[in-house]
């Protein structure tokens, strides 16, 4: 065979640049002093400092989890920087006050922050290392009573809301990384949509890790009050560095009665080089609670970056008739490893969940789907449908599925379907014979495989996600 499907891809990671900006950094290491210093920098109230300290004490008693199907060298948590902020970051009168260097960095990422040229129809909160550097469209949203700001600001300006909901979905004691995050979280986004309000635009946070040896520990809290609707998108990139960087975020979503939260992620953290050197360790806890009846939480994720991805966006289906959804595309190439999936916890009656997972493995990448569907004794009439498909590109990659199903109510219906396929030389040649290049042929086949997930993304981002996938897989077919 003159050509085999191996080593499809290698375009440069185009977000790998470093911005040279003076930073205010707390030295590496983690102890009560670190936590107090972070809290002091952010002028936090005492209750939040106490909460952080409880989390830290809890964390010191916990062990790093190793049940994920991923391998990596031990992480020295004392060798990490837990806080780094661009020195010029301060509360801004207007987006036009953003430091030009930061604005330039976001321009390069395709995220304009200048008021005149903001992304049409999308409000953006830009988080650079540990802090938010600006949020667009705030005033328009405020007129509707929608709060969209950094979590730091929310603590100062809406302390009651934050205190009421923070940690109610992911408690500080939840797991190793969530506890770590609770102790040292720096910034992230906060969204509150008041009763009956439908948020008229996409809200979005763009996370950027810039500084070396610095972890990003952002925390996002989104609340849709009774009858409210919000769609939120998260994007992320980081410079190319030879050492691994830690990212341990927490996202909490709350949907009250009749409310809907749609959360989409396009994750493109630096993945490391072809030999598997460097890249982001992405250990993330994302969970939503359908607290009220008829509420809905929908997760859509396109995971193309990171050296290691460990995340399970989940939904607690507490309200009767509530709906949880998880649509996922996870791509690994070279030496990337992903262990991702979801948990759907059916507690209320007639709760429904839908899981669609598409895993693509190329190079020597290793991709695992891990899912748990739990139906509690009171969840009469609960239904779950899970579809879990894997696509292999080449012979050296891996795909695995670990579905766990526990049903405690015999009126529940749970269905699971799984498939594994190989991208075919014959498919690629067929498209080439019609005039389409090999690279575009692979993108097209993969996009077709992911169609059921892409159609859940907000329109503006579906195309971006498709292109990103093409770039990640470039060169994976020789």
């Amino acid at each position: 065979m003159s050509s085999s499907i191996e080593n499809l891809v290698n375009r440069e990671y185009k977000f790998g640049f470093v911005t040279d900006i003076e930073a205010d950094t707390i030295p590496a290491g983690l102890g009560e002093d670190t936590v107090r210093a972070i809290s002091a920098k952010k002028h936090e109230p005492a209750w939040l400092l106490d909460w952080r300290l409880k989390a830290l004490r809890r964390w010191t008693t916990m062990k790093e989890p190793h049940w994920g199907n991923v391998r990596y060298e031990p992480i020295d948590y004392q060798d990490q920087v837990y806080y780094s902020a661009p020195r010029t970051a301060k509360p801004l009168g207007s987006m036009d006050d953003v430091d030009p260097k930061l604005r330039e960095a976001y321009d390069k990422l395709g995220i304009p922050l200048k008021e005149q040229q903001v992304l049409a129809g999308v409000a953006v909160d830009a988080v650079f290392d540990s802090v938010s550097v600006g949020t667009t469209y705030r005033e328009q949203l405020a007129k509707l009573g929608i709060i969209f700001c950094s979590l730091g600001e929310a603590v100062r300006e809406h302390p009651d809301l934050v205190r009421k909901y923070l940690g109610t979905v992911v408690p500080y004691s939840d797991n190793f990384y969530a506890s770590l995050n609770s102790a040292v979280f720096s910034d992230g986004s906060f969204v509150y949509v008041p009763p009956g309000v439908r948020c008229p635009m996409e809200l979005s946070t763009y996370f950027r890790i810039n500084a070396a040896n610095t972890g990003q520990f952002e925390r996002t809290l989104i609340i849709a009050d009774t009858g409210a609707y919000v769609s939120y998108l998260e994007g992320c990139t980081a410079p190319k560095r030879a050492t691994n960087q830690l990212h341990a975020a927490v996202v909490e979503l709350i949907a009250l009665e009749n409310a809907t939260v749609k959360y989409s992620t396009v994750q493109n953290w630096y993945a490391g080089d072809e030999e598997g050197r460097g890249g982001i360790f992405n250990f993330v806890t994302k969970r939503g609670k359908c607290a009220g009846a008829n509420s809905k939480i929908s997760w859509t994720q396109v995971e193309t970056g990171s050296a290691i991805t460990w995340k399970y966006p989940s939904v607690i289906l507490q309200g009767d008739n509530s709906v949880g959804e998880f649509y996922s595309v996870a791509v690994v190439n070279h030496h990337q490893q992903a262990d991702t999936g979801t948990k759907m916890l059916h507690l209320g009656r007639n709760t429904r969940s839908n899981i669609v997972s598409k895993g693509i493995s190329a190079g020597q990448g290793n991709n695992s789907y891990r899912g748990r569907v739990f139906v509690g004794p009171k969840a009469a009439g609960a239904r779950n449908y899970t579809q879990c498909d894997s696509m292999l590109i080449g012979n050296r990659c891996g795909a695995h599925t670990f579905p766990y199903i526990e049903v405690g109510n015999d009126t529940a219906q749970v269905e699971h379907e799984a498939s594994t396929s190989k991208i075919g030389e014959d498919q690629i040649f067929y498209l080439q014979q019609r005039g389409i290049s090999k690279e575009n042929a692979v993108s097209m086949i993969v996009a077709g495989f992911c169609k059921d997930v892409f159609k859940e993304l907000p329109m503006e981002f579906a195309l971006e996600a498709q292109q990103l996938l093409g770039i990640t897989l470039e060169g994976s077919v020789g």
């Binding site: 003159s2 075919g424 030389e425 014959d426 067929y430 080439q432 014979q433 005039g435 090999k438 077709g448």
Partner: protein, 253 residues
């Protein structure tokens, strides 16, 4: 247009399957390539289209003066070479409309022409769908996925109609078709015939040639063209079978 000299090729690591093919095709001509199963007809078609699973071990081929074997498969397609597959491939999740428009635009781009937008393309499709008696619903279906055998073959002809190749190679487009589908396919090919394009019809049976009348018929046996003639040759084969022509490779060597 196409000039093949002493072409030798193999697949899957074994011995040569094509053992020295000579064939010249000029604009405006229809050539039929016939021969028993396993004689190398599909191998010839695949090698001309550039399937990387096949290896050219000797000889040459030019297409409009260009060295065919120096071109990537997509470059050959962009230069106007089209192959209707004996076994069309399924691409789940990719709509026929999107696939065909991408192909159409890639070929236009290669010729320095403007891409067409989805609406313009719909007009083009409507005209061509009628040619193969297919309705619009097939545009939204995934490429060949879940198509019946006959639908797959008609979809190949639809693609040919849209892409308007200079040289079309139809690899057993007739096999597995009932008589109505056969007529639709043949009419499609006939309507697309122009003085500046050419067609190579690869077939095992004579019956397609009742509908598509070839200028030349070549008989392939064990990797060689053992006889060439006019359209009467097809009828002669129909009557006598292939046995009277077959020359074991060893006997010649």
């Amino acid at each position: 247009m196409l000039d093949i000299r002493d072409l030798q090729a193999k697949v899957g690591g074994g011995n040569d399957i094509l053992k020295g093919i000579n064939l010249a095709v000029k604009a405006g001509e229809i050539h039929a390539v016939m021969g028993p199963n396993g004689s190398g007809k599909s191998t010839l078609a695949q090698v001309l289209a550039g399937n990387p699973a096949y290896e050219v071990t000797g000889g040459s081929a030019t297409f409009d003066g260009r060295d065919l074997f120096g071109m990537q498969p997509e470059e050959r397609a962009q230069a106007g070479l089209f192959m209707a597959f004996q076994y069309p491939v399924e691409i789940p999740g990719v709509s026929n409309a999107y696939f065909l428009r991408s192909a159409y635009n890639e070929i236009r781009k290669a010729h320095g022409e403007e891409e067409v937008d989805p609406l313009e393309f719909l007009d083009i499709m409507e005209r061509n769908l009628a040619l193969v008696d297919m309705d619009q619903s097939m545009l939204q279906r995934s490429v060949n996925a879940g198509f019946s055998g006959g639908e797959k073959k008609r979809n190949e002809i639809l693609q040919m109609a849209v892409l308007r190749p200079r040289l079309a190679i139809l690899d057993e487009t007739d096999s597995g078709l009932d008589i109505d589908a056969l007529r639709i396919v043949a009419e499609g090919v006939n309507k697309l015939r122009r003085p500046d394009n050419a067609t190579i019809v690869v077939t095992h049976y004579q019956r397609l040639l009742n509908h598509i009348v070839p200028d030349f018929v070549h008989v392939l046996s064990a990797g060689r063209i053992v006889k060439s003639g006019g359209k009467e040759l097809a009828l002669e084969l129909e009557e006598k079978g292939y046995d009277w022509l077959e020359t074991p490779a060893e006997a010649v060597a």
